[in-house]
């Protein structure tokens, strides 16, 4: 009996470890360091939240863009603006949709960092950022994409 309990709790621990890795909780400093690191990979950072309907609507378009560019150095990073106490919800959503990598940006005073992402950003989501440090490329967009407008945006700014 005790052995079974032990195995169960071990399994629970493992499961927690596994799920903890699916969404990485970061502060703005960490996020900023990713933005500024020299890399020849193009990163599309998508700011979203589980409660944001237009954000969820454009996720398949982002997944499609990721698939279209899988031969290139192209990465989609989902930056969740959900609160840390909703981590479980975010994790189960992300698992269901098969999204990775996913970061949860935990930095309450948004006024201190929104302008650092882009002065063009008012704070509304969805919003997206296309960064390629090797090419000195840094493009911000606030609003929803369709598949076509997303492809065009990547095309225009990605080459």
């Amino acid at each position: 009996m005790e052995k079974r309990l032990l195995i169960l709790s071990l399994l629970a621990c493992l499961w927690q470890l596994g799920s903890a890795q699916s969404v990485q909780q970061i502060d703005f400093k960490t996020f900023e360091s990713h933005l500024t690191t020299k890399s020849d990979t193009t990163y599309l950072y998508n700011f979203w939240a589980t409660w944001c309907k237009p954000c969820i609507k454009e996720i398949p378009y982002l997944q499609q863009a990721k698939a279209d560019h899988q031969q290139e150095k192209f990465q989609v990073v989902y930056v969740s603006l959900d609160f840390p106490d909703q981590m479980k919800l975010v994790e189960s959503f992300v698992a269901r949709k098969g999204l990775a990598p996913v970061w949860l940006l935990d930095e309450p005073d948004a006024n201190s960092w929104i302008d650092k992402v882009s002065p063009k950003w008012t704070g509304a989501i969805p919003a997206s950022l296309l960064v390629n440090r090797a090419k000195d490329q840094y493009e911000f967009y606030e609003g929803s994409f369709t598949q076509e407008s997303l492809n065009a945006w990547i095309e225009e700014n990605g080459e």
Binding site: W51, D109, A110, N111, D115, T122, A124, I125, E142
Partner: protein, 204 residues
């Protein structure tokens, strides 16, 4: 009389928006009055608040989780500052066709459930929202009556720096701004940004 005034106002509104296009108010801009229907089925205009030193406009809605987190704090702002001359008017900018949870009936239910002590009005053609350049809910604008007696924009942005936890607020942006105005001082932080739900614009 009221009708002529309204027509005149609508004319001016139409005129100004056609002349100035999409350019939104900035800090210091004097603002035009509006006439918007409240959940109590009355028309609300700034001229109804002639004794007010200013007005706190809150672009907010029923459906956005961040807006909901701030509902209690909006009530507190009104309860604290309306007696001091700064009442809250909450404006729902969302197109209910896009967001059914923001229908007029849903707004009435929300206002009753939460016991809003302030007017909760609808901006049916989103004209007022555009004039203020609001992009998200919640987003606040403090209007201050200037020397000429006109209401002008004194602050635009977030209520405070801690959406999730009202007890962890370090920078109560709106309260700080109004307290400065009450003392006749300059507002130090006139613009702030915050994460919020995009305004649900009418597709047409």
């Amino acid at each position: 009389m009221i009708r002529t005034k309204l027509t005149l106002f609508l004319l001016i509104l139409g005129f100004s928006s056609s002349v100035f296009g999409q350019a939104a108010y900035e800090i210091g801009s004097p603002v035009a009055d509006f006439s918007l229907k409240s959940t109590e089925n009355t028309m609300v205009s700034m001229e109804n608040y002639e004794d007010a030193k200013g007005i706190i406009l809150a672009f907010t809605c029923n459906t956005c989780p961040w807006a909901k987190l701030y509902e209690s704090r909006l009530i507190e702002l009104h309860n604290e500052f309306a007696p001091k001359g700064y009442p809250v008017i909450a404006i729902n900018p969302n197109d209910p066709e896009v967001k059914p949870g923001d229908s007029f009936e849903a707004m009435q239910t929300r206002a009753a459930d939460k016991g809003f002590p302030f007017a909760y009005v609808v901006d049916p053609n989103q004209e007022i929202t555009r004039m203020y350049g609001a992009t998200r809910t919640p987003e606040l604008v403090i209007l201050q009556r200037n020397a000429e007696g006109q209401l002008a924009v004194a602050y635009k942005g977030a209520i405070d720096d801690s959406p999730r936890d009202a007890s962890a607020v370090n920078k109560p942006y709106v309260a700080t701004a109004i307290n400065a105005l009450l003392k006749g001082e300059k507002v130090e932080v006139t613009t702030t940004k915050a994460i919020g739900c995009s305004i649900k614009w009418s597709p047409s």
